[in-house]
C-alpha cells in the first residue's frame, strides 16, 4: 500500500504513512497503569480520547491548521486528563473491580460542550467536557479574591465584565450508570438517536437512556438457566450507524447476530444470524477459540460489518448471512503456533479493527507492534510497525514482512523472533482523514498520510 502504482488504475494513489506524533514514556519498565486500553476519535476527528489501565482518560485536541504551513497539519495536543474510574472492591464476591477503561465512546456534539461515555468492567460514566476562557470581574459584593467586601466601602455600583483568561478545560461527571451489570462490560455503543446507548457484558446487553441512571432495559440475555450449560458468551456489540432499531452482537463461537428492537422487548431471537461454516481441513482443538470474534464494527455506510477473530478480519454484507464477502489473513503464520499461544494465553488476546472514512481500507493490530492495513479495492495489504526505532518523524514507514521459512529477505522478521508481549490491540482511524492512532502498550502513535490528507 505504500508503493505508488506507476501506470496503475486511476484514482486514489496508495497512502504513505509516516509518524506524526508519539506520546508516552520511553522507559523500559512500563508501569501497568499507563498501558493504554482504548482509543477513540470523536465524530469530527478534532478530539482523540485514550483510556488506560489506571482508570485515566486523556483527551487530545487537534490544533487548527496553520495558514503559514499548509502541509504541516494540526498536531494533537493534550487537551484534558482526568481520572474516570477508581479501583473498587466488591465485598459480596471478594473480588476487585479493575479501574481499567474498557471503552470510550463519544456522543455527537450538540452544543459547545463535548460529552463522552467511559466504562470499566461494571460502571459506565457520562462525562461533560467544557471550556472556560473568560471570567467575570468587577463584582460589587466580592473582591478579587472572592472575599466579601465591607459594605461601607461600596460607594457605587458596577456591572461585572467578562475578561479573557487562560483556557481552562473542565470535565465533570454528569451521569453514573452503575449496578447494571453482573459480568464484565466489554462494549458500549451510542445509538443514532443520540438519546439511548447500550452496554454489553459477557451474557447480557442493556439499553440505557442517557438521562436516566437508575434503570435500564435488558435487551439480550444469553445466560443459561444452568450455568453448567454455558458455552458461549457475548464478545462485542454495536448499534447500526443509521437505523436506531438495529444492533449487532458477536459471540465467542464466531457468530454475529443482528437484532431488531422493534421485533420484541427481549431480543434473544436474532433477526439475522451471520455464521461461516467451519473449514473441516483446518479443524483442530483450537478452532473454536480462534473463531471467537474479538471486535465488530459497522462500516460508515451501514452496509457492511467488519469482524476480527484471532487470525483474520472479515467483511460481512448485512444481506448475506451464510459467509463473509471478504476475508483477510492477518497473521496466518501463527496457525502452526496455536498450542504455544494457547499456553501463554496469547490466543485469548482481543484485537480491535477499524474502517477508514470511506470504508475502502480496513486496519487491525498484530504482534511485535505490527499493524496491518487491507485495501478492499486493490486487494493490497501492508504490514507496518509502531516502534520508536523504526519511526522517525516525517519519514515514511517502511513495510515489514514476516518470513515463514524459505527465502528470507534482508529486513524480514522470522516468526520465532516475534515479540508476543508487544501487541497492538487498540487502533482508531480518523472519521474523514488518513490519520490513525495506534496504541502500543503505553505509547500512543499517531500516523498521517504524508501526501493525501483528504479522502476521495
Amino acid at each position: 500500500m505504500s508503493h505508488k502504482q506507476a501506470g496503475g488504475p486511476p484514482g486514489e494513489s496508495a497512502a504513505d504513512w509516516c509518524l506524526y506524533q508519539l506520546n508516552g514514556a520511553a522507559e523500559l519498565e512500563v508501569s501497568e497503569a499507563d498501558i493504554i486500553s482504548t482509543v477513540e476519535f470523536n465524530h469530527t476527528g478534532e478530539l482523540l480520547a485514550t483510556g488506560d489501565k489506571g482508570g485515566r482518560v486523556v483527551i487530545f485536541q487537534r490544533e487548527p491548521e496553520s495558514k503559514n504551513e499548509p502541509y504541516n497539519q494540526g498536531e494533537y495536543n493534550v487537551y484534558s486528563t482526568f481520572q474516570s474510574h477508581e479501583p473498587e472492591f466488591d465485598y459480596l464476591k471478594s473480588l476487585e473491580i479493575e479501574e481499567k477503561i474498557n471503552k470510550i465512546k463519544w456522543l455527537p456534539q450538540q452544543n459547545a460542550a463535548h460529552s463522552l461515555l467511559s466504562t470499566n468492567d461494571k460502571t459506565i460514566k457520562l462525562w461533560k467536557i467544557t471550556e472556560r476562557d473568560k471570567r467575570p470581574e468587577g463584582y460589587n459584593l466580592k473582591d478579587e479574591e472572592g472575599k466579601l467586601k465591607d459594605l461601607s466601602t461600596v460607594t457605587s455600583l458596577q456591572v461585572p465584565v467578562l475578561k479573557p483568561m487562560d483556557l481552562m478545560v473542565e470535565v465533570t461527571p454528569r451521569r453514573i450508570f452503575a449496578n447494571g451489570h453482573t459480568y464484565h462490560v466489554n462494549s458500549i455503543s451510542v445509538n443514532s438517536d443520540c438519546e439511548t446507548y447500550m452496554s454489553a457484558d459477557d451474557l447480557r446487553i442493556n439499553l440505557w437512556h442517557l438521562a436516566i441512571t437508575d434503570r435500564s432495559f435488558n435487551i439480550v440475555d444469553i445466560k443459561p438457566a444452568n450455568m453448567e450449560d454455558l458455552t458461549e458468551v457475548i464478545t462485542a456489540s454495536e448499534f447500526h450507524p443509521h437505523h436506531c432499531n438495529l444492533f449487532v452482537y458477536s459471540s465467542s463461537k464466531g457468530s454475529l447476530r443482528l437484532c431488531d428492537m422493534r421485533a420484541s422487548a427481549l431480543c434473544d431471537k436474532h433477526s439475522k444470524l451471520y455464521e461461516e461454516p467451519e473449514d473441516p481441513s483446518n479443524r483442530s482443538f483450537f478452532s473454536e477459540i480462534i473463531s471467537s470474534v474479538s471486535d465488530v464494527k459497522f462500516s460508515h455506510s451501514g452496509r457492511y460489518m467488519l469482524t476480527r477473530d484471532y487470525l483474520t478480519v472479515k467483511v460481512w454484507d448485512l444481506n448475506m448471512e451464510t459467509k463473509p464477502v471478504e476475508t483477510y489473513q492477518v497473521h496466518d503464520y501463527l496457525r502452526s503456533k496455536l498450542c504455544s499461544l494457547y499456553e501463554n494465553d496469547c490466543i485469548f488476546d482481543k484485537f480491535e479493527c477499524a474502517w477508514n472514512g470511506s470504508d475502502s481500507v480496513i486496519m487491525t493490530g498484530a504482534y511485535n507492534n505490527f499493524f496491518r492495513m487491507f485495501d478492499r479495492n486493490t486487494k493490497r495489504d501492508v504490514t507496518l510497525e509502531a516502534s520508536r526505532e523504526s519511526s522517525k518523524p516525517r519519514a515514511i514507514l517502511k513495510p515489514r514482512r514476516v518470513c515463514v521459512g524459505g527465502k528470507r529477505r534482508k529486513d524480514d522478521i522470522s516468526v520465532d523472533s516475534l515479540d508476543f508481549t508487544k501487541k497492538i490491540l487498540h487502533t482508531a482511524w480518523h472519521p474523514t482523514e488518513n490519520i490513525i492512532a495506534i496504541a502500543a502498550t503505553n505509547n500512543l502513535y499517531i500516523f498521517q498520510d504524508k501526501v493525501n490528507s483528504e479522502m476521495h
Binding site: 453482573t182 458468551v233 482443538f285 502452526s336
Partner: protein, 282 residues
Amino acid sequence: MSRKVELSLLLYGLLLSSMGEEEGLHQTQFLDTMFVRGLKRKCFDGEEDIEGTLAGIKAIPSYNLQRQSLLDMSLVKLQLCHMLVEPNLCRSVLIANTVRQIQEEMTQDGTWQMINTQSTGQASLDRLVSTDILCRSSRDQAEGKHVPAYGTFNKDFESDQAQDSSETMSTASSVQAPRNLQSNVWEMENPQENKGNFQKSLDQIFETLENKSPNSVEDLFSEVDNSYYDLDTMLTGMMSNTKMGHCDNLETFSTPTNTASNSNCKSDLNDLDHIVEILVES
C-alpha cells in the same frame, strides 16, 4: 507480611526456580510440532494408526499423549483462574469448551474409561475428571520409574504397547530431562495428597459450573479466596499483591513455562493453609 503469605511465596519461588524455562519451551515446541505436522487431519478423525506415519519421526509423541497434554494444560488453566484478580469469563468458557471437546473425543475413541456405561450425550464432567486422576495414578504405579507427568492411560495404548512403547520410550527419553524434574516435584510432597488436592480443585470447578447461583463462575474461586480473607483483613492487600505477582510471572511468557508447577503450588498453598490455620489456632 503475614507468615502464611511468606511461606506461600517461598514455596512458589522454590517451585519456579526448580522448573527451568527451557524445559517448558522444549515441551511446547514438541506440542507445536505435533500439531503442525499434518497430524491434524488424521488425528482429528479419531484414527489411531498415526503411529505408522510417526515411525520415522522419533521426537513426536503419540496423538494420545499430545491430546492428554492439551487436556492437562487446559485443566491447569482453569485452576489458575484462582490466582487472578477476576476471572475472565470468555477465556474460562473457551478453555472449558476445549476440555469438553477433548473429553468427548476421548469418550468416542473409547480411550476414556467410563465408570458409568450410560451413553448420554453429556456425561457428568466431574466423573470423567476423576477417572482421569485414577487412571493416571494406576498407570504411574505400573510404569515404575518411568513417571511422566503427562501419562496416557487408555486401553488402546496398553494393547499397542509393544508397538507404542518404543516410540514413547524414545519420546520420553528426549523429554526425560524436563519430566524427571516434574516427577521430582510431584514427589516432593505426598503425591496422593497432591492428586487429591488437584482432584478437589477440579471438582470445585465443575461443581460450581453446575451451581445454579447467578454468579457461579465467580464463585469458582470464592471458596479458596474466602479462606484467605477470613484470616486477616491485611491479607486482602497482600493477596492482591501476591496474585498480581503470580500474574506477572505468567504474563512474561514469550517462552512458555511449565504450568504444572503452578498447579503444584496451588495444592501446596491449600496444604499450607491448613497447616497455618492449625498453628494459628493452637
